[in-house]
């Protein structure tokens, strides 16, 4: 089964087909939500609600387009709604945004995580989409529904803030 087939089946009332979509994208969704919200518990709730929103809005989804960028808009709406009600994680003892890997030491990883958490949600979102997902400026503009010039300036200011935080 692929996305298109699963969505077609969902539209015909076969709810079970949505399982394929959830299982395919849940890890990605939770990590994107974590990058926006700054904590995993809220991210799990946001991702869950995002999938429910997506299921209910499937009728308006154009199957010729890829699923995830469409879903991402719903997911980030959920995240920002949730963010207005909840507070961010204040201390960092384990990383939820940055993965441990051989190219980056533990200390550097924790410092980067803390610096990322000190950014505004929007800045953190754009930085992680740029570096962790490798999106181009055009893709970022489309995904975040902002002009390309705003992408350039938001990324620049976010990197400046990161640099200032890491320097401290």
């Amino acid at each position: 089964m692929d996305d298109q087939a699963a969505i077609e089946r969902c539209k015909k009332g076969q709810n079970e087909a949505f399982r394929y979509i959830v299982e395919r994208y849940q890890r990605q969704a939770v990590s994107h939500a974590t990058a926006i919200l700054g904590n995993r518990e809220d991210a799990l709730d946001a991702a869950q609600e995002g999938f429910i929103d997506a299921f209910r809005a499937l009728k308006s989804f154009d199957e010729a387009r890829p699923f995830y960028p469409w879903f991402y808009v719903l997911l980030r709406n959920r995240c920002y709604k949730m963010a207005a009600r909840r507070r961010e994680t204040e201390s960092v003892d384990e990383t939820v945004i940055v993965a441990s890997n051989s190219a980056i030491g533990d200390e550097e990883m924790l410092a980067l995580e803390e610096a990322l958490l000190s950014l505004d949600r929007e800045d953190r979102e754009i930085v992680t989409l740029k570096y962790f997902d490798g999106l181009s400026y055009d893709e970022l503009a489309e995904r975040l529904e902002i002009p390309k010039g705003t992408v350039m300036s938001r990324l620049f200011h976010a990197r400046r803030k990161l640099q200032a935080t890491l320097e401290r």
């Binding site: 959830v22 990058a35 799990l44 207005a84 980067l112 570096y131 400026y137 990197r159 640099q163």
Partner: protein
Amino acid sequence: MKEIACEKVLMAKMAEADGETVELSKEDLNLHLISCEKCRAEITQLHDIDTILQRSSRAETSVDLWLAVSRHLEQPVRRITWQPFAVAVVLLIAFKLFEMVPEEDPGIVIRAAPLVIFGALMLLLKENPFKINSELVLEK
């Protein structure tokens, strides 16, 4: 004035490093950097951040959301239709017309009709008119 120019140059240099095309020419950018020590220092620091971020990756852990999501898929979505509002409007208009008849004294029960209509509408819609919406936030 110089500060604005510096920011534009730095922004363009970073975009260039990201593989994007920028409006300012390479020559203009380099000329500025040669003459501006502050920008040279900042661009080095920004490249350092760029390097750290490029070496990093997104944390992903295994999750299973299907069970929680599937429970909600069966539940019908409550949709607010226009009919209750139409009925309320008709009743309120009828009340206003009745109120305009000069010789009639409607009495306390009839006078309370708009409140009753409003209350019935809220009850029907299962909405609490006194609930504070915590999702409302001030624009930045």
